[in-house]
């Protein structure tokens, strides 16, 4: 491998406000001084991107373990678009690392974006389902904004969807967005898929989702990403 950039992680909690508990920590890649994920990833050359992506997940697990992740609190790890298409073994190293440090696969959620999946849906579903038998879980990130949308759920049912920020932003006064989210909730309820409101920044957004019966949240309002730590959560009252 050529010289890879230095990196570390910030963690942002996903919270069940009904239970008043953090249920998972999402690992977000950062530069050594807190630089953005983009600045880290953009310095990796294309041919090494996927190997680097695997490396990141392993390192994230180790850091999470040091910070006290023990299988009680889940860890959410990101998968680069197309990763499973390019290497069906992309998750093997992640699960091996987890096993070595005592985190069971069932405490790991793999986050994928819509674009990861629609590239080659049948192949994605086949590979993803293969790993499912280990107990690993899947969440679709940025759901509702891209082209895939609902019909994706007819072919692949993740354990959770994270609503796209575009849908969340100002939802309390935006009727069409509310209607879309209600439709999504209905579909997800029927399929046993959890709905996570992501990127929640204001009280108004938070309370709209609460009144719709959403329990799972992630966003600045509750906790900003904590650099090399699991941050404290502020539960709105």
């Amino acid at each position: 491998m050529t010289l890879l950039p230095e990196f570390t992680f910030a963690f942002q909690p996903i919270v069940d406000v009904d239970l008043g508990e953090t249920i998972s920590q999402e690992a977000l890649v950062r530069g050594p001084n807190g630089e953005s994920a983009y600045s880290v990833l953009s310095s990796v050359c294309q041919s090494e991107l996927y190997a680097f992506d695997e490396e990141l997940r392993m390192a994230a697990l180790r850091l999470a373990c040091e910070l006290g992740a023990d299988g009680e609190v889940r860890v959410n790890l990101n998968l680069m678009p197309r990763a499973l298409e390019i290497s069906s073994g992309a998750l093997a190293s992640t699960l091996e690392t987890a096993a070595a440090i005592g985190i069971p696969p069932s405490a790991i959620t793999i986050e994928i974006t819509e674009s990861e999946i629609i590239g080659n849906l049948p192949r994605f579903v086949a590979v993803a389902n293969e790993y499912r038998s280990t107990g690993v879980r899947y969440a679709i990130d940025d759901f509702g904004a891209g082209y895939a949308g609902l019909n994706l759920l007819a072919e692949f049912q993740p354990d959770a969807i994270k609503l796209d920020r575009e849908l969340v932003r100002g939802i309390e006064k935006h009727g069409p967005r509310q209607a879309i989210v209600r439709g999504l909730e209905r579909t997800c309820e029927d399929l046993g898929i959890e709905v996570i409101a992501e990127g929640v920044e204001t009280e108004e957004e938070f309370w709209w989702f609460r009144s719709e019966g959403i329990d799972l949240f992630q966003g600045y309002l509750l906790a900003r990403p904590g650099f090399q730590q699991f941050p404290k959560v502020a539960f709105p009252t």
Partner: protein, 414 residues
Amino acid sequence: MSPLVHLIYSSAATKPLPRAELVDLLDRARAKNSSLGITGMLLYVEGSFLQVLEGEPHAVEELFDVISGDPRHGGVVTIIHEPIAKRDFGEWSMGLADISADDLDSIVGLNDFFEMESCFTDLDSGRTKKLLKAFRAGRWRSQIAGQQAAEVASVAAKATSASSPSEAPVVQDEDERPEISFAFQPLVDLSNRTITGYQAIVRSKEGEDPREVLSRYATEEGRVRMQIQSIEMAIGMAGRLGLTGGLTLSYPVPKIEEIPRIIDSALQMASRSSVSPSQLTFEVEQHDIGSNPSWFSALIQERRGAGLRFSINGSGGSRFGLGLIDSFQPDSIALSKNLVRGIESHGARQAMVRGMIQTCDDLGIDVIVKHLETSAELQWFHSEGVELFQGDLIAGPAFEQLSTEMMLPSDVLQ
């Protein structure tokens, strides 16, 4: 005629509004609205408001700004803001409904009021009516976080809906037209078992598959011109056949950039025939829009003012983006064929369709099911509340005819 828009919003009363205050609010609103050229209605049910404001774009926006800041309510949610062809409410005059205590808990009271004033039934089947229906069914009840539903009362406006005048039929002669003709397939409304309109389907002069004729148009410009002519011909023919309901025009668009030209010529043709623009629904394929949704939205909003309706075909198929519905709301969507096929035994698709129906209901978008092949499919959709169907199963296309025949499976009719 200056352009018109309507803005429909919901909100919640900050505190119970005694009747006297409501009456006062309405009196002032009425006076101010009439001076601003604004019509519409205001409903107040169980602490929730639903208001329709119609008028010139600026006037509506400015008034809405003022109303939004009114401390007597909060939790204001803009549901729909779009151009309209004509006002649903000819005037702004409101009445107070006296509803007995028993009725207060249910929305039946609202229903009674509507029947009493018969304004609900006078509304044409546009977006406003669908949203009022959704409101009556308990949707769009805005809440202010942590606040209980306020006092119950109902106030509503009386609507005098302007009926659209019918123009005298003038049909153009047709020289140098493409060698094509049309079949018309009924669109059936199962709620009252009527045919609400027809879809024009291109055929050869002999009533056969038109592919051979169409393949003669080699250049893109040729294809666009042919489509323009064929749309004109379809409108002309439907007019001569005495069309009273809707006419759905759907054509594979050679290039999305050509849609404005095609639509504008359809509108011109309508003005020369007995078909009015409000009878026309322009159906666009989901995948044609996929590449350029914001451009398409802008284009559609511009032409909505003419009364034309828009439908998106193939919704729920691959590349169905919810983002599209966020930026503009079509009048109807037709579900993609692969969602319909065998739905009765496919749980994930059922879940998806339920979600889509929910979203569309909330936004006053009709859901149309086409490509029906089995009565099991029809039955499943019908049981989910879908009312509009098209398919050979219930009514096939008839060549150069507006057929009134339907075959409804007996098990659906129960």
